[in-house]
Structure formats: structure tokens, C-alpha cells
């Protein structure tokens, strides 16, 4: 109970910091929109090819934006060594992890209302309200699947000068199942699901999210150790 309460306090703290530093959110948002735009330029005016690749582009925009937001979230913690200040309090490291990971997930969730309509317009995809809701649900699962290992690795690399390079190098191979699951599931939503495969891909995506959230929570206390 104490862990949940402490994690919620930390989520509140992160949300307040995000609100105060809105320029960070806007930067990540613009970066993602530009990425979506560049993908559409790369494919050209072939609307069939764009529609076929729309799910992949959307998830890649999320993945690339997540690396920016994750490393930034720990940069704030390293200014004045605020993270060390939290570690020195009698706060369970598990609460520190879940507080940070939930905050990072919420940050990525906030990108969905912008990225999704932009992608639908750029890639000429028409969807009903129900399918848009399903897409947002899948986005949430993908965001959760990226945030847990992303938070762990961002914590591990936060004290390194080469964090911006190391974080994607470590994170990308680990989140391949999330990438594949979310691309496949979103493609089924966007392009139709005649064989009813959406459910199994969603379960796979959810399953990986659960595994990552459990394992990363266990490993996080070691990630924030300094060693001396």
C-alpha cells in the first residue's frame, strides 16, 4: 500500500514538472509529427503503399519520440541530483520505478491524440470511431511496453554523457516484440482483420507489457545504484 501511495506521489510530481516544462512535450510532439511527415515523403504519393505502411510508421514515430522523452525525463532527475535525493529518502525503489514508468507512459499516451489523426490524414486512412478507439487502446499498450524497459535503461544511462546514443542502442533490441506486436495489431485495425487475428496480437502485446513491467520493477533498484 505504501509503495502504491509513494508511486502516485511521484507520478504527480512528474506530471507537475511536465506541465511546468511544456516546451519539452511540444518538442517531442513536433519531432514525432515531423517524423510522420518524413515517412510520407519517403514513400511518395502512392496512397496504397502509404496505407499499407501506416501502422509501422505510427509505431516508429512513437518509438523514436519515446527515446527523446525518456532520456529527458531522467535529465531532470540528474539536475541537482534530485534522483539521489529521492533514493536517500525511505522510499521503496520499486515505487521510484513505477512512479517514473507510469509518468513516462502517460507522457507517451498524451502524444496519441495528435499523432493518430496526423497519421490518418497523411497516410490517407479512413477509420470509424470504434476503430480509432481500438487504435488508441493499442497505442496505450505499446506505450506501456516501451516505457517500462525505457525507464530502466534511461535510469541506467542517465549519468553517462553518451546517454542519447546508448539509450536507443540498448532499448531498441529489447522492444522488438512490442514493435512487432503493435505494428501487426494496428495494421489489422487500419487495414481490416478478416482472419480475426487482432485479439491474439493484442494479447501478445499485453503479455510483453506485463513481463516488462514486472521484470524492470525488480531490476530497477540495481540500475540506480551508484557503486562507489
Amino acid at each position: 500500500m505504501n509503495v502504491i501511495r509513494q508511486a502516485l506521489v511521484l507520478v504527480g510530481k512528474d506530471m507537475l514538472l511536465e506541465w511546468r516544462g511544456r516546451s519539452r512535450f511540444i518538442s517531442v510532439l513536433l519531432f514525432g509529427v515531423v517524423t510522420l511527415l518524413l515517412f510520407s515523403f519517403a514513400v511518395g504519393p502512392d496512397s496504397v503503399a502509404l496505407r499499407a505502411a501506416a501502422a509501422g510508421f505510427l509505431v516508429l514515430a512513437l518509438l523514436l519520440s519515446s527515446t527523446l522523452s525518456l532520456s529527458e525525463s531522467f535529465r531532470l532527475e540528474q539536475e541537482e541530483r534530485a534522483l539521489e535525493g529521492l533514493v536517500l529518502l525511505p522510499v521503496d525503489p520499486v515505487a521510484l520505478f513505477y512512479g517514473k514508468a507510469i509518468g513516462n507512459t502517460l507522457f507517451l499516451l498524451l502524444l496519441a491524440p495528435i499523432f493518430t489523426p496526423v497519421a490518418l490524414v497523411l497516410y490517407s486512412v479512413e477509420l470509424g470511431a470504434m476503430k480509432i478507439l481500438t487504435l488508441v487502446g493499442l497505442w496505450a499498450l505499446a506505450a506501456a511496453g516501451l516505457s517500462a524497459p525505457g525507464t530502466l535503461y534511461a535510469a541506467m544511462t542517465s549519468r553517462l554523457r553518451s546517454q542519447d546514443v546508448l539509450l536507443p542502442l540498448l532499448l531498441f533490441p529489447l522492444v522488438v516484440p512490442v514493435l512487432m506486436g503493435s505494428v501487426k495489431a494496428m495494421a489489422l485495425v487500419l487495414g481490416g482483420d478478416p482472419l480475426e487475428q487482432l485479439r491474439s496480437w493484442t494479447v501478445l502485446l499485453g503479455g510483453f507489457a506485463v513481463i516488462y513491467w514486472s521484470l524492470c520493477g525488480l531490476l530497477f533498484p540495481y540500475a540506480i545504484e551508484e557503486g562507489g
Binding site: 507537475l16 536517500l88 551508484e226
Partner: protein, 196 residues
């Protein structure tokens, strides 16, 4: 107790090992019978550490910072509970100012309030007088005396020997990680005065 010694003598490292932030490369350290590494949470309930860094977020205000600490420590966190704390270090007029606008001394004073909320049995202070003006130094001295009177043990690393020699019962001098002298505050001031 005061830890004295030149830069690199191991004062900060010793405090950080006691706080469980560093693992000792050899040997063993206990805080009230607790291993700071293995019994980390229990140990941190017993101690509070103030370091060179302020442990603050620039974009939070003083009252928000205190509220977060209070909630994490399960202490009363209403403004009416926290304002007297801010007043005790002279920050009551700026509760809504973001920490980014604070001077180094104001940051230090806000950080010191952590220990009021923590109410530790052991205070670990690394250069508690750095970045403070005369009034700030006097406040910290009073605060250390209050903590002692409240029953807390205080271990501090400091280069302000004359000031800390008035506050301590015991002093040790470190050189390259070894204790090279033990005594009291007066003895320390005398010894380092002779060396100077």
C-alpha cells in the same frame, strides 16, 4: 562528530557509504546495527543526509517541494503544516517562487528542511556551511544544535574547522581514507591551526 581532512581524503566517500549510496570496497559499516546496503530502507528511516547537491527540482516551488517530501515520508502535508517549516528558515515569503529563482543559500535552506520532515536519529552533513551567507551559517549552526538536543547524532564533513570545532564533541582527521588523528573540536582546531 566532525570529519576533517584535505580534498580527496575520503570524507564524502565515508558519508556516502554510511548512507548506502556507495558500497565499501572492503570492510563493513553499520548504522545502528543495520547494513546500509542490505537493509537500505530501514537504514534510511534512521538517517538523513545533506550533500553538496540540493536535491531539488528547479521547476517546483518551495511549498510543492516540501509537500512531495512530506507525502513520501507520510507526514502531514497541508500548507498549514508546511508554512511554519518554511518560516523557520526564512523562506515563508516565497512559498510560490520556483526553485530556479532561488539563490544557492535559499536552496540549501530548503534542502535542510528535508531533515525536519525526516526526523532522523543520525544526520550526515557534507559541507553544511557551503554556499551560505553569515545569517545562513548561523541558522545552520542553530539547526545542528537543535538536532543534537533532540537526540540526533550528527556526523559532518567540513572545511570550516573553526566553526565546526565549536559544535562537535569528537573529531577525526582523515588522509587518503585513513584516520590519522582523533580528538575533540578544540584539538582539531589547534592541530590544523598549527599545520596552517
Amino acid at each position: 562528530m566532525v570529519l576533517a581532512g584535505s580534498n580527496g581524503s575520503g570524507k564524502t566517500t565515508l558519508l556516502r557509504i554510511a548512507a548506502g549510496l556507495y558500497k565499501p570496497s572492503r570492510g563493513k559499516i553499520e548504522v545502528y546495527g543495520l547494513d546500509p546496503q542490505r537493509e537500505r530502507l530501514e537504514c534510511r528511516r534512521a538517517l538523513s543526509m545533506i550533500s553538496h547537491q540540493a536535491y531539488l527540482y528547479d521547476r517546483l516551488t518551495a511549498i510543492e517541494t516540501l509537500r512531495i517530501w512530506a507525502r513520501l515520508l507520510d507526514r502531514p502535508s497541508a500548507d498549514s503544516d508546511l508554512m511554519p517549516l518554511l518560516a523557520s528558515v526564512g523562506l515563508e515569503r516565497r512559498p510560490r517562487l520556483q526553485v530556479a529563482g532561488f539563490s544557492a543559500g535559499m536552496r540549501k535552506r530548503l534542502t535542510l528542511l528535508r531533515t525536519r520532515l525526516e526526523q532522523p536519529r543520525l544526520l550526515l552533513l557534507d559541507e553544511p556551511f557551503s554556499a551560505l551567507d553569515v545569517e545562513g551559517k548561523r541558522q545552520v549552526e542553530d539547526w545542528i544544535r537543535d538536532a543534537r538536543e533532540a537526540g540526533a547524532a550528527v556526523i559532518m564533513a567540513s572545511h570550516a574547522i573553526l566553526r565546526v570545532s565549536r559544535l562537535c564533541d569528537r573529531a577525526v582527521l582523515l588522509e587518503r581514507g585513513q584516520i590519522v588523528w582523533r580528538g575533540d573540536g578544540e584539538g582539531l582546531a589547534r592541530r590544523l591551526g598549527e599545520q596552517a
